[in-house]
Symmetry: C2
Subunit: 338 residues, 2 copies
């Protein structure tokens, strides 16, 4: 697989294209800033010579690769996709490329991917949530790789994040549901052990219950893996609880859509017999029938602000500060009185 | 941003962990092949020393980074997510990391991302569809970076792909629809200019029409951007056609879900007044109401086979050969007689 001819240099490309090396560099890294005719000449020279920007040399010279890594738990079902798309648009308009890795919710995989992205010269990382092995943060600090967290915001946290308060968001929804008269509550949750967003959402419901004089231990709590099928199976499980719940919270819209489908299959009326509540407000929430009552997360705003913060940090050295974005309740058709 | 202490070497890590440098290397690159206790020692040493595998040196020594890049048109709505998840699982079990970039269906963005991934030392690339500037293929050939195409299979193509025949798949569905008596057909398509899958699906319908003695030019054809809202707006457009269609094909399930939602909003019965047909069979197709009739693409099988082929190619030098996977019709509840 090794090419036998000498490796072409940036200077070779510049000479062939009849432009300066700075122009070649800009054409590669910030093509939007270079006239089309110049880009065409440079790209033709690159193709003819088989030139590839020498990552190692560039990284050593500049300690920058204009690449930012984002590591998310899953690419399926669009939970993270919309925010990441806005993050990428912001990066791209500033000359950065985003590379994404997905962990399938496995902390070991996330750790490998962090090391891999750092080894490949990522200028910075975007990670989801706060909770991970402290050794990972030590590693990133030692490597001088800035890390911005997102999808979570905890005023007490020491690491900067651009996110929302998962606990307060779910608490607000639970107060609404309890205020309508619901007393027998259930939660179908993502697995909480490695997921600080899921555990915070659970805490939010329990706090609302306590504040309303309900015993938080009566919350019927079922953990399951992420997926529509899993949400459906968990719905069966919570409905066998005695007494059965009148309102079923779900830790995310994907689980809620599974619950909704299973209710229809079982002839259980929503919200007549039971209310079902989601979290995220992904597109799925609007296309299911009845349309899902859920907590709207401003994914695009969050992604855009995260991108802006990282770009300013890398460009100008502006410190990464915590930024909170705000959720809101979206009352559609799956929540009614008990 | 530059760390002031001397950069630790692989040997430093090995000495600190009390293992050989080969073991450190394996623990970093193929963690699954190393005992947990050894990994823990190595990882502790890496964290304490702040060691990062020196990409440049490794790349020059081995010309391999154990990273495979995948570039997809979009991360939203899970069209590509399931296949990519299977692709990643296959890679990961063989010690490779997958990095993903998404283009928002912009060829210029894809080209930048290809150059970026090659510059960062990707061992191989997975790209969607055949159609792109020939200069990109020339560049990849000159760089000796293997490229496998997917999501499309054309027996006449010269580049190897693991995919399905988009034209034949849609033709089979169109034959079914025409066989039920539909004569006035419409297609809401993704933009075909830069998307060979979308144009092949359109061709499939036209071929079925011609074979059934219908004039293919009577196909009411509307192109739109990718999205649920876009599908809804396009549905309005095709329904104003005179005479209005009795069956509306959609180039993908996302557009079909938008069409279905708009039909409900307008009080148009599906399939009583009009049939709506999707393509892909993503999870969305099963959760909408009525459940969507669509063409099932074996996304997981396709991703897994693509991963296997690339790993065998990189490990053993096995040539990349075309592999066809097969779609099938999924008849749910949105297709009925005219």
């Amino acid at each position: 697989m090794t090419s036998q001819r000498p490796i072409p240099t940036l200077q070779d490309v510049a000479t062939r294209a009849g432009v300066s090396t700075a122009t070649v560099s800009r054409a590669i890294n910030f093509p939007d800033q270079v006239a089309q005719v110049t880009r065409d000449k440079v790209n033709a020279a690159i193709a003819e010579l088989g030139y590839s920007p020498n990552f190692g040399a560039r990284a050593m010279a500049a300690r920058r690769t204009n690449t930012i890594g984002a590591i998310i738990p899953t690419m399926e079902n669009a939970i993270f996709a919309r925010g990441l798309q806005a993050f990428q648009e912001e990066l791209r308009s500033n000359g950065y490329t985003m590379l994404v890795a997905s962990t399938a919710y496995q902390p070991d995989t996330e750790e490998e991917q962090i090391r891999s992205l750092v080894a490949r010269g990522a200028d910075a990382l975007l990670l989801i949530g706060y909770h991970r092995d402290p050794a990972i943060y030590d590693f990133l600090d030692a490597q001088d790789v800035p890390v911005l967290l997102t999808w979570a915001f905890d005023p007490a946290a020491t690491r900067p994040s651009v996110g929302f308060n998962n606990s307060a968001a779910m608490q607000e929804m639970a107060e609404k549901v309890i205020g309508m008269g619901h007393r027998r509550l259930a939660l179908i949750s993502a697995e909480t052990a490695q997921n600080d967003r899921a555990s915070a959402r659970c805490d939010g419901i329990r706090q609302a219950m306590t504040a309303a004089g309900l015993d938080a231990d009566t919350l019927c709590f079922v953990e399951t893996k992420y997926g529509i099928e899993e949400g459906a199976a968990a719905f069966d499980e919570v409905m066998t609880h005695d007494p059965s719940p009148t309102a079923v919270f779900c830790g995310n819209d994907v689980l809620a859509v599974g619950a909704l489908r299973r209710a229809r299959e079982r002839g259980i009326a929503v919200p007549g017999d039971v209310s079902i509540i989601g979290f995220d407000d992904i597109e799925l929430a609007q296309v299911v029938y009845p349309a899902l009552t859920t907590v709207h997360v401003p994914h695009r705003e969050m992604g855009r602000k995260a991108g802006q913060a990282l770009v300013k940090h890398l460009r100008d050295g502006t410190a990464l500060e915590p930024i909170e974005v705000h959720t809101k309740l979206v009352l559609r058709n799956t929540l009614g009185p008990p």
